[in-house]
């Protein structure tokens, strides 16, 4: 039983092997002549999926500070470590956007200057009308501001938290509350815009005001699952002694509740578009439900994300059962990834998608390896139980 997690060489090699599998998957795709568009679309899915976990954990961390909540303090280091992936993911996403901007890939149709040119054969009136929003200075300006803001806030919160542990200085904690409150407001307004720019703009003609919240609800849920899985892993290794059944019960409740939030936003978006039946809106669901062969994926994704937590996480005993949480967590991670797959693939590769192929599978494993490498590295940096947090004792006594 120790407070310090050590990132052993064996585990490190394991994550390297996972990253290697990702590179192999890309090599396989190049050798087999899989279209570049499909490789890039997969990269976008995996970059965004793991980035969203980092951002979700930053959001959760800020939320805990702003609400002055005590219950999560015993596993505070876990979500702090996960938030440590946010800067890495943001840099990867910025690189991805930059490559698109220099026309290395063609995931974003609006990055092609021809669509704004009335004389060109590729002229697209609808996208041209959105020209001001997609103009390079405005686009890169907001992307840099958002990314800088997220990285800076995550860095401040984490740094002060580590410092507080050494000095016990209460002013650092109070400063973190202020930073968190500001971050929550800014994140609330900027995260939907980030999602429009990076995911929704794949289907450039289409738009939905629910989309930002829909994606946000999905990744918040996945973040809570990730926190649960990391906590269970560490608990299994004999760490996090103070974390008891009640803490896991809380995490289970988060997964349960956020699955409903996700379903709610999914359904709000779906039903309004289904009901109004406006051609420019309904294309999104036509592509996914009837035209391009995504129908089974779409409905399987929806029903598993909704019913699995509803049926299996409803009872109190299930939320306190580690094996239950592990199995359901792993399935839900996959189906939330599938959610992102169904969002991005129809707009990029259309009907030419494959789900069960070494490329899709390998790239996911590769990015998971990178994610694990960063998060476990962050976990090893500080004692797993915070030492001098004002709510530490209260969190240890937590029972529900």
């Amino acid at each position: 039983m120790s407070l310090q997690y050590t990132f052993s060489d064996k585990t490190k090699k394991f994550t390297y092997a996972m990253m290697g599998a990702g590179i192999l998957a890309v090599a396989y795709a190049l050798v087999r002549g899989i279209p570049a568009q499909r490789i890039w679309a997969n990269l976008l899915i995996d970059i965004f999926f793991f980035l969203s976990l980092g951002l979700g954990a930053t959001f959760y961390m800020a939320k805990k500070y702003a609400a002055e909540a005590s219950y999560a303090i015993v596993y505070k280091r876990v979500y702090e470590a996960i938030s440590g992936y946010a800067p890495v993911g943001l840099i990867l996403l910025a690189l991805f956007l930059l490559l698109g901007f220099f026309h290395v890939h063609h995931i974003y149709p609006w990055m092609n200057p021809d669509v704004y040119n009335p004389a060109s054969a590729h002229y697209d009136k609808i996208i041209a009308n959105k020209g001001a929003y997609f103009s390079a200075p405005f686009f890169w300006g907001r992307i840099l501001v958002f990314f800088g803001l997220y990285i800076w806030c995550q860095h401040l919160l984490r740094k002060r938290s580590l410092e507080e542990d050494l000095t016990g200085d209460i002013t650092l904690y109070k400063k973190n509350i202020t930073t968190s409150a500001a971050f929550l407001v800014l994140f609330g307004f900027t995260s939907p815009v980030l999602v429009w720019d990076t995911i929704m703009s794949v289907d450039t003609h289409w738009f939905s005001t629910m989309f930002g919240w829909y994606v946000f609800a999905g990744f918040w849920c996945t973040t809570m699952i990730t926190i649960t899985l990391f906590s269970l892993y560490l608990k299994g290794k004999g760490h996090l002694e103070e974390m008891n059944d009640s803490h896991f019960h809380d995490l289970g409740k988060w997964i349960f509740a956020l699955s409903f939030l996700w379903t709610y936003t999914f359904f709000c978006q779906f039903m309004l578009i289904w009901y109004a039946n406006i051609p420019e809106e309904v294309t999104y669901f036509q592509d996914r439900i009837s035209l391009m062969g995504y129908r089974p994926l779409f409905w399987i994704m929806f029903f598993i994300n909704f019913s699995l937590p509803m049926v299996f996480l409803m009872s109190r005993d299930a939320k306190r059962n580690a094996n239950f949480l592990k199995v359901i967590g792993c399935i839900l991670i996959f189906t939330h990834w599938l959610d992102l797959f169904v969002m991005i693939m129809p707009g990029t590769v259309g009907a030419n998608f494959r789900l069960f192929s070494p490329l899709e599978f390998g790239l996911f494993i590769g990015f998971a390896g990178l994610f694990l490498y960063v998060v476990l590295g962050q976990l090893a940096k500080a004692p797993l139980l915070v030492q001098k947090h004002p709510f530490l004792e209260e969190s240890k006594q937590h029972h529900i």
Binding site: F267, M271, W274, Y275, A276, N277, H399, I400
Partner: protein, 172 residues
């Protein structure tokens, strides 16, 4: 030998829960505990059987959902099919997305109301019923443990040791 009731008053919920554990460990049967709010961990400390209200809630929810579905089918499909926004109105299946919000509301409404009445009937705290609460202070800031026993002296001594601030012995 006559059975008497002991009213032990506690001032703090944490003290109450630790006292309840000790009382249960000593093998004394607690008849009832009156508290101003729900105290977490108290039923577990007294080894009370788990509440079955969750099972009721599930059954009520299912009832609400089925009734709602029946209602929607009768109003909108069977009795007077209504063409709203050109949506198919010949079958329930085709129209189901439009019915989900009212079905959800119906489920919650039925479950909440029936649970409320179940609780009132089960605890018999209906309007006009004489209150069973022996001390009105338990509706404010005190916690009262009610024990019926023959050995009043021994039990009182134990209760005092567990932190009871006041002990009253009354005839049953």
């Amino acid at each position: 030998m006559s059975t008497k009731a002991i009213h032990a008053i506690y001032d703090d919920d944490e003290v109450l829960v630790s006292a309840a554990k000790k009382i249960h460990a000593a093998g004394i049967k607690v008849k009832e505990v009156f508290t101003p709010f729900a105290v977490h961990g108290l039923p577990e400390a007294l080894h009370e059987p788990r509440t079955r209200i969750a099972i009721c809630a599930f059954l009520y929810g299912c009832t609400g959902l089925s009734l709602g579905l029946l209602m929607m089918w009768y109003f909108m499909i069977h009795d007077w099919p209504q063409d709203i926004g050109g949506k198919p109105n010949a079958t329930l299946y085709h129209n189901i997305p439009a019915f989900i919000p009212p079905l959800f509301e119906g489920t919650v409404f039925t479950a909440a109301h029936l649970m409320f009445w179940t609780l009132l009937f089960r605890s018999w705290i209906l309007p006009g019923v004489k209150p069973k609460n022996p001390d009105p202070r338990t509706t404010d800031d005190k916690f009262l443990v009610l024990i019926e026993t023959e050995d009043t002296e021994g039990v009182s001594k134990l209760l005092r040791e567990t932190g009871a601030s006041e002990i009253k012995i009354v005839e049953v």
